[in-house]
């Protein structure tokens, strides 16, 4: 029996045994850890890196020079480096890589790391760290970033020896992109960066505790096919996992083979074209009535790379009450987390669907197909009756400003079909998800799980860099943002201009934090506490001078200050002209400040914590609450549809 060793599991830093740090590998090219880092990224095929230098990462930045094979995009705030890497990763399917410094640089990265963790975006975040001997001494710009990010990373490393750098980076890159993708933090001590080592490639990865399952095993596929064969009201509930797995073809084929309708979550918008009649759109809090109703009434719910988020399910116990559930996900921990499945399938979505479709065809060849016409008739009726519109009298702006929904529709109608759409977080995000005509997968980048305001501009820059890398810049990038969300990372206009990321920015400027205001209107007695931004009053009010300050900031001047083109639109004619002009400019960023109505609201809506059956199509109309009226006919509720009071 081997003698027990001192227990490392407790401690923070590896024990230094005598002789442990002795250089044992002497094969390969001699270089510093910093040089090895750059070389490893090149050998991993990394072509774009985002970041911002600083003291504890300087050796790495010293190693980046004109001969370096990747393009470096210098941002103005570390958070933006993370979001840009996310946008890049979602647009291209590659791993997003950022290099930032220790301490504040690293802590500024926590938000994008958490965001990437929620939305399963592959990210490798390289942070500087003080020297090994200074760790734990509260040294200048020291922060225990590995410790601070434990709850929000897929995995993390603290690298203390130069020799480990190639292996750790190879592992980090593999972990980030494989299985359920996610962020991996590599904290590089200055000791490791400056240390001498011998570089060799490829590296052998040592990951005994990491074996993601990608292929579904045995019986579950047959079980799933059997449930399909028994289902009169099947529904495919498709989530972001399907987008990460590149499964749009398989999802469309499954819908075709089974005849089942498709509803998608926010990150899966575009996975199947909106022109596909099987696609009922987004479900959940701000989803279409047809999609939400389909989930509530189906008898078989097939969750594909989706995680039963509360924004989708509403009150969990009332979600899809009569459905049996097939849950396909690469992460075993998602299965049964919120809803117990009847058939759990662990595996990569595309692989599983590829194997499942023949199984279903086989079962159909024996048992035939059930008639889904009644199911489709009921859904089509809802789809036609409760389309997302904004033409009611209460939707008309009272102050002469633009309708935000109309702006989104015009942007969509006039844009290049290859456009990548990026948003911030808030009302504009929901309108974009509802009203943009998505025809291609990977054309939608938004912050879903974490709901990070300020995500938009840096993510759009990342998407633009990705478009230049993989699509020859032929995919234009439109950012639809809110005035509040945009201001959280507006300094990145400098990056967009100087690093040649010609993003087109549409600010739906309603001069308030619109989504918060909507909740204040509905649930907090119109008490508009701290939601007025005064950065975009409507034309008419501006003339009257009802407020002391206007337009702080002036977005047009802000854009021009950063070298970008700034346009403003108060009227529909101005808006159309500005969109046309923006679509023609491809050499620099363009920003359009659309002055929209602050009282416009996102409908339909399910109040937080309420059942999806209580979805409010319009104030006063809750079509899924069925009751018998005087004539005995069953109809949707049109009574006083009060949204129940609830918290965010």
């Amino acid at each position: 029996m081997a003698l027990p060793t001192p227990l490392q599991a407790f401690s923070g830093v590896p024990k230094t045994h005598t002789g442990n740090d002795k250089q044992t590998i002497i094969d390969g090219e001699r270089m510093t850890g910093a040089q090895a880092l750059v070389r490893t990224l090149e050998d991993l095929g990394v072509q774009d890196v985002f970041g911002l230098p600083g003291g504890a990462i300087l050796p790495v930045y010293h190693a980046i020079n004109d001969k370096t094979k990747f393009r470096f995009t210098l941002v103005r705030h570390e958070q933006a480096a993370g979001h840009a890497a996310e946008g890049y990763a979602v647009a291209t399917g590659r791993v997003g890589v950022c290099i930032v410094t220790s301490g504040p640089g690293a802590t500024n990265m926590i938000t994008p790391i958490a965001d990437a963790n929620m939305d399963s975006v592959p990210l490798v975040v390289i942070t500087g760290q003080v020297g090994v001997n200074a760790i734990g001494t509260d040294a200048f710009q020291e922060a225990d970033i590995v410790g601070a990010t434990y709850p929000v990373v897929k995995h993390s490393y603290l690298v203390t020896r130069a020799q480990d750098i190639p292996r750790v980076l190879a592992e980090a890159h593999y972990i980030a992109r494989s299985g359920r993708p996610g962020p991996v933090v590599v904290d590089l001590t200055k000791t490791a960066q400056t240390g001498e080592m011998y570089y060799s490639w490829p590296q052998r990865m040592i990951l005994p505790g990491y074996n993601p399952t990608t292929k579904a095993h045995g019986r579950v596929l047959a079980d799933a096919a059997r449930l399909f064969a028994q289902s009169y009201r099947p529904l495919l509930y498709v989530g972001g996992g399907a987008a990460r797995s590149n499964a749009s073809k398989e999802v469309a084929e499954l819908a075709e083979v089974t005849g089942a309708p498709i509803v998608t979550t926010l990150p899966a918008r575009g996975i199947v074209p909106d022109s596909n009649p099987k696609n009922l759109g987004m479900l959940g809090m701000h989803g279409t009535v047809a999609a939400t109703a389909a989930a509530q009434r189906c008898d078989l719910l097939v969750a594909i790379g989706a995680r039963f988020d509360d924004r989708v399910t509403g009150k969990l116990s009332a979600f899809a009450p009569s459905a049996r559930v097939i849950h396909i996900d690469i992460d075993p921990a998602e299965i049964g987390k919120n809803r117990a499945p009847d058939v759990p399938i662990v595996g990569d979505v595309a692989t599983v669907l590829h194997d499942l479709i023949p199984e279903i065809k086989r079962s159909q060849a024996i048992g035939g197909k059930l008639n889904l016409k009644p199911w489709w008739d009921s859904l089509n009726a809802l789809r036609e009756q409760y389309t997302i519109t904004y033409d009611e009298p209460q939707d008309q702006p009272t102050d002469g400003s633009l309708q935000p929904q109309w702006v989104v529709e015009q942007l969509s109608a006039k844009a290049d079909p290859a456009t990548i759409w990026v948003t911030g977080v808030g009302q504009h995000q929901m309108w974009a998800a509802q009203l943009i005509d998505f025809e291609k997968p990977h054309s939608w980048i938004s912050s879903g799980g974490l709901g990070t305001m300020g995500f938009g501009l840096p993510a759009a820059i990342g998407a633009s860099v990705g478009s230049a890398r993989d699509f020859g810049g032929k995919k234009p990038v439109w950012l639809i943002d809110g005035d509040g969300s945009f201001q959280m990372c507006s300094e990145e206009l400098a990056t967009a201009f100087l690093d040649h990321a010609p993003v087109k920015i549409a600010i739906l400027n309603n001069s308030v934090y619109g989504m918060v205001r909507q909740w204040q209107t509905l649930f907090y007695q119109q008490h508009y506490s701290q939601t007025n931004l005064l950065d975009g009053e409507a034309h008419s009010e501006q003339e009257e001078g009802t407020s002391e300050f206007f337009d702080v900031p002036d977005f047009v001047k802000l854009a021009e200050a950063y070298g970008c083109v700034g346009l403003r639109a108060f009227t529909e004619e101005e808006a159309l002209a500005a969109i046309d002009k923006a679509n023609l400019i491809n050499d620099r960023p363009v920003l359009i400040d659309f002055r929209v109505w602050k009282d416009a609201m996102v409908w339909p809506m399910v109040a937080a914590g309420a059942s999806n059956d209580e979805v409010t199509y319009r104030p006063g109309t809750q079509p899924l609450l069925r009751h018998a009226d005087e004539n005995g006919a069953v109809s949707g509720s049109t009574g006083v549809g009060t949204l129940s009071d609830a918290g965010f």
Binding site: A2, P4, A9, S11, H155, Y157, Y210
Partner: protein, 184 residues
């Protein structure tokens, strides 16, 4: 579902053996996971094992089946976790070490010693005003002993947390691939 916090009163006692890589920070990852998933545990003990590359964490918790399954799955997502086994009490030897300092003086020392003898535990320190008792055993025995000693006044008490191994000749670490990497 989603019945967090996962530990409810009245749930059954479960013992998990978690084999982890013996690397710095592993315990922090595991403890942090329990905390953020609102999973209350009764005891947690970590120790080296027969293999230098593997440490073993023994966790006991009062928890229902469904949240337990979720916690096992979440633990499995940690890359440093190599293997998790829920130990069946029928085929497991479980022990806990307890040190109890009892306020025993001249008048009642012999009564305490009688209890010590009955439970076949040991006295490891004697003082005119106290007795320190070392007891090992399964949880039931320890609890019974404490119940009796409480009466005399327990000055200080420390429990090691349960450790457990399966009966028979096999090791949990069989076929588990470890790693020679010692860094984080």
């Amino acid at each position: 579902m989603a019945n967090y916090p996962a530990s409810q009163p009245g749930s059954q006692r479960h013992t998990l053996s978690v084999l982890v890589e013996n690397r710095p920070g592993v315990l922090a990852r595991i403890a942090g996971l329990f905390a953020r998933r609102a999973f209350n545990i009764n005891s947690l003990s970590v120790s080296p094992t027969e293999r230098p590359d593997i440490s073993r964490v023994t966790v006991t918790a009062d928890v229902d089946e469904v949240p337990l399954e979720q916690i096992i799955k979440q633990l499995n997502k940690l890359l440093h976790v190599l293997k998790i086994v829920e130990l069946d009490p029928n085929s497991t030897v479980e022990r806990e070490l307890v040190l109890i300092k009892v306020a025993a003086n001249q008048s009642n020392r012999s009564d305490v010693l009688e209890i010590v003898r009955l439970f076949r535990v040991r006295v490891v320190d004697v003082n005119p005003e106290s007795l320190t008792i070392e007891a090992t055993g399964a949880e039931g025995k320890i609890d019974a002993l404490l119940g009796l000693l409480e009466h005399y006044g327990v000055i200080e008490l420390v429990r090691s947390g349960a450790v457990a191994v399966t009966r028979g000749p096999r090791a949990l670490s069989e076929k588990v691939i470890g790693s020679e990497v010692t860094g984080r």
